[in-house]
Symmetry: C2
Amino acid sequence: MAQPPMLQENHLLAALSEPESARLTPYLERVNMPLGQVLYESGEQLRYVYFPVTAIVSLLYVMENGSSGEIAVVGNEGILGIALFMGGETTPSRAVVQSAGAAYRLPAQQLKAEFNRSGQMMHLLLRYTQALITQMSQTAVCNRHHSVDQQLCRWLLLSLDRLAGDELTMTQELIANMLGVRREGVTAAAGKLRDAGIIEYSRGHIKVLDRPRLEQRVCECYEVVKKEFDRLLSDIPPRTTHPRF
Amino acid sequence: MAQPPMLQENHLLAALSEPESARLTPYLERVNMPLGQVLYESGEQLRYVYFPVTAIVSLLYVMENGSSGEIAVVGNEGILGIALFMGGETTPSRAVVQSAGAAYRLPAQQLKAEFNRSGQMMHLLLRYTQALITQMSQTAVCNRHHSVDQQLCRWLLLSLDRLAGDELTMTQELIANMLGVRREGVTAAAGKLRDAGIIEYSRGHIKVLDRPRLEQRVCECYEVVKKEFDRLLSDIPPRTTHPRF
DNA sequence: CGCGGTCTGTGCGCTTGCGTACCGAGGCTC
DNA sequence: GAGCCTCGGTACGCAAGCGCACAGACCGCG
């Protein structure tokens, strides 16, 4: 509780012990990240890790022919750059800012140093990584078995959980890139949700009006991942569900 | 090199330093695993980790409606039970023996103890886990964008890499479960490969006749994962590519 | 106020894969 | 050798999603 309150905005940072927090704070730098910013490219050596606060970042995989797919999404519950402490230094995926906002960044060296102390931070990061693995696995099966309609619901809920409000800035084209489907497919799915009065949207702004009914329509994948995140990370003490404004 | 030669059969065990190997060897137990054996169920507490030798194990995700999908495959290059050292204790996936054979198993306690020494083994396991993450991500996009034909090629090659010979015992029905598609889809894809003279099969036995042409037909996903495994695990010293008979 | 670019809506033909059903062939058991 | 069960082959209608093309709507900018 003696931490600078700002660090509470990211769950992982918030869960650090005082000595850990004291060691890292001098190196943490708050940055603003605009929509579309690429934090790192596939195969690129990472210079920083990022702890999102109000921003949301997608881990995107881009194939040779240009088609793409989101494999995970990271908000203020997590960290970007797990390859650094896992030992691979890089990953074959790209990290793109999906919702503009703030994050703390930390030089790679400092993160590795703290990780190698094998303290609480290491265990925290590993458990977070396992939660991320669950998200990726679930995405794999969801891609295989569920309709665009259901996946759109899942995607909206994942974003909503990582946002302060009920509004997101995102075109259907971009959502299509994330889900790895056609833009027209998203148009159709979004149209159904609008006709049902669950969302409203216009030119890159989506507002969720009725979250409960969104949860009725989503496939099981959303719930599975959510429960697993809760299970793995619920003991994080100050449990700030959303950043306060 | 003073290790019992048998341990060389699994790449991770083979890469251990002498003291590590000496600590673990007393607890390692060689087991035979028949086709179809379930090493652990979704959500089940793990009592052992497994280091496959000649066996191949699939990480399978089964959905509420019974449909399923393979999210990763583990052979003698890896380990089963990463949730133990990642801190989650369990995962929402199921581990099923896809190709009968031998493995070493180690009680969960011993693995955790060794991991917590933060030595070479820890770094090895973490790098392996990152490679596994790559495999899962790639599976997610492959599920989205590639045809059953291509995915069958990928699946065959992944199995082939983890086998001693060129023959696998596996029905089309089971392959369909792994890929998360219909059995008839596999029949059609396999028929094309047979007509082209690339494989031959009958009643649960598949023989690969022309691996180079299999590699021509596969999607990029296979290569990406293979390269990443090589990059992350290539410094493992005794590089026994396949168990010798 | 008009222009241009971006975002969304819609239509159409095509391919892939799904669900269902049925059948024959090979191998195992008794 | 008869019977049974598993495995693989095939067919048909259906639905989802794709690629492409184009049109209208909205916004910002000059």
